[in-house]
Amino acid sequence: MSKEQSGEPVSGASKLFDLRVLIGGLFTLYGVILTVVGLLASEAMRTKAAGININLWMGLGMLLLGVFFLLWWRLRPLRHDPPPSD
């Protein structure tokens, strides 16, 4: 706090983390969980969803999106412009 009060404070925006990791991580995790639940789905679960194994399809879809975000993050990492003062 004392640093902020002395003189012109410098933006901390360059320390902001990359959201793609979190989106990728969450969707990969949810995707794996739902795919497993879908593969083990009981007849009752399928009947409830009008005969569709919705957990399996949803799981695969979320897994795909999660992997997309993780790949995007790995292949095009975030680059911050160097702050003008340094």
Binding site: G12, F17, M62
Partner: protein
């Protein structure tokens, strides 16, 4: 199919798996707040994310900020109540307004380096105009934050059996933590995550629901047998004069809902514009509403169509107090989603409510701190002081939101409640902005005069409409006022507000002195900011990043869909 008719109450069958999915989500929400805190050193970091975010993040946050209770439950309710005409809120309303914001207005907002929408009014007009707008905006955002909180409370009460007060306090606590710590970055990052999770949760409802009613043609055939009738799939059906459509005539829809209300909301509401101001450069700021427009075009398929499916699957929907139209989406979740998918859909719904609230609180704290506190109460303090004020105001805003949550319960249809507020305050705003932005002669005092006249006009129309036969179905006044078309009265109220504001602005301008041109640099069309970088020196964006290509692309898709569902 009609499993709910027997018990007539909604209670989701939530298993340990679903609670696990919810727990992971809520842990991540807090984590985002904690991680975003490290990037906050200045008040601009807290209120505007240090103006450093990429366009895809701000663009998704732009629509996510609006994808709260109003949108998801309200639009599904409208779908069940009014049919496909509800798409006018998107295709006549939101999308053209978002394109206009990106292509036409954003250069003035972002280029002038204003920190908020009220600040633009202060520099373009004067302090009274600014104070009027800052106060009305701050008040209405806290109210809307409360509405979102209330909607969340009733959903948790209905689906999980939590008492209303407990749901309200717990969800307010989560919002409080992530935006007090993480500021606007915490809010925006959570909004983007929420966008994906709500879409992931709504798609299965649409797919399973459509499959169970026999696909699109099956849905049309089934809806034709309900009270809504076969016409409910034609979006302009009954919008002639005299009208029979539940949204009223085409004049109200095109000019009131489209031109005045939607342009007013999407182009001047700071909860939206703030997302674009946090973008890293002018190009990203312009692309923010344009990128948001694309998902916005397709969101009606995830809200309105489930509303229609609910009407078919739950025949008593809207016919008893235990099954209000607003329950359409939770009812379908209960009916169709097995454990697992249900957890994701629940996470999406709760995330949407929290994001809806967070968007309003994070714009409220910015306007309160910069536009009220720093401008009128305690100017000239060091930056760190305003950062601390911002955090305190955030806590206060959430507390007021909790109080408001209980006030909001007085109105049966959340959508109409919100529309009523917007038609009073937002409708005149668009006139004041658009005239001030494109006519340099406009005088400072005309700002406040026009806004006051327009707000009064909207309020007058609201009460006057009850005594006009035209606003009643069949043109006959119902003495109890129960059948009065409130949506249409709001649309016409907005038209009157716009006209009154425009007339008063012009009259007051002609009586007064214009602002010196030097003070208008960068704020008004035709007076460039001399310190702005020369556009020819800026890097040229790739063709698919061009705002014009993105904007006209969105309009083209909307036009095609409008013809398909004519």
């Amino acid at each position: 199919m009609d499993v709910l008719a027997a018990s007539d109450t909604l209670r989701l069958d939530v298993k340990a798996l679903d609670y696990g999915i919810l727990a992971v989500y809520f842990a991540l929400v807090i984590t985002i707040g904690l991680l975003a805190k490290r990037a906050i050193a200045t008040s601009e970091d807290f209120f505007l994310s240090g103006r450093a975010l990429p366009a895809w993040v701000t663009g998704l946050a732009f629509i996510s900020a609006n994808l709260g209770a109003i949108e998801i439950l309200g639009m599904a309710a409208n779908g069940a109540q009014y049919g496909m005409s509800t798409v006018h809120f998107y295709w006549i309303g939101a999308v053209p307004a978002m394109v206009f914001l990106g292509l036409v207005m954003m250069p003035f907002y972002y280029g002038s380096k204003v920190r908020s929408v009220p600040e633009y009014l202060r520099r373009r007009y004067n302090r009274p105009t600014h104070l009027y707008n800052a106060l009305t905006f701050a008040t209405s955002s806290v109210l809307i934050a409360g509405v979102n909180l209330y909607a969340l409370g009733i959903v948790l009460e209905a689906t999980l059996g939590w008492p209303l007060w407990l749901s309200v306090v717990v969800s307010a606590f989560f919002v409080l933590v992530y935006i007090t710590l993480g500021g606007l970055s915490g809010a925006i990052y959570n909004e983007v995550l929420q966008f994906f999770i709500i879409v992931a949760g709504l798609i299965p409802i649409l797919v399973v629901g459509l499959h169970s009613v026999g696909g699109w043609s099956g849905l049309q055939a089934a809806v034709a047998k309900t009270d809504l009738g076969a016409d409910s799939f034609n979006t302009w059906q009954g919008t002639g004069i005299p009208w029979t459509n539940a949204l009223g005539d085409w004049v109200g829809i095109v000019f009131g809902l489209g031109f005045v209300l939607s342009f007013g909301y999407w182009t001047t509401n700071f909860a939206e514009v703030q997302r674009a101001l946090s973008a890293k450069d002018m190009s990203a700021a312009q692309r923010t509403p344009l990128i948001g427009a694309y998902p916005k075009i397709f969101i009606p398929f995830l809200t309105i169509i489930p509303g229609l499916i609910a009407l078919v699957v739950v025949p008593r929907l809207g016919k008893s107090d235990a099954l209000p139209y607003n329950d359409a989406i939770p009812l379908l979740m209960d009916q169709f989603l097995p454990s697992g998918a249900l957890g994701v859909a629940m996470a999406g719904l709760l995330a949407a409510f929290m994001a809806g609230m967070a968007a309003n609180v994070s714009s409220f704290n910015t306007v309160f701190t910069y536009d009220i506190w720093q401008t009128y109460v305690r100017p000239g303090r060091p930056d760190g002081y305003y950062l601390r004020v911002g955090r305190v105001v955030t806590v206060a805003g959430v507390l007021v939101g909790i109080l408001t949550a209980f006030i909001a319960s007085g109105y049966s249809n959340i959508m109409i409640y919100i529309q009523l507020l917007f038609s009073f305050f937002n409708a005149p705003l668009f006139a004041t902005f658009i005239i001030g932005m494109f006519w340099k002669r406009v005088s400072p005092m005309s700002g406040i005069a026009g806004l006051a006249a327009g707000t009064a006009g909207a309020a007058i129309m609201h009460f006057w409409a009850y005594h006009l036969p035209y606003f009643y179905p069949g043109g006959v006044i119902d003495p109890t006022h129960a059948t009065m078309n409130e949506q249409m009265a709001n649309f016409y109220g907005a038209i009157l507000a716009f006209l009154l504001d425009a007339v008063v602005t012009v009259v007051v301008t002609l009586m007064g002195e214009p602002k010196p041109e030097a003070e208008l640099a960068g704020l008004v069309w035709g007076i460039p900011d001399p310190s702005a970088p020369d556009p020819s020196t800026l890097p040229k964006p790739l063709w698919w990043q061009s705002p014009k290509v993105l904007g006209f692309g969105a309009l083209g898709i909307t036009a095609v869909l409008s013809l398909v569902f004519l």
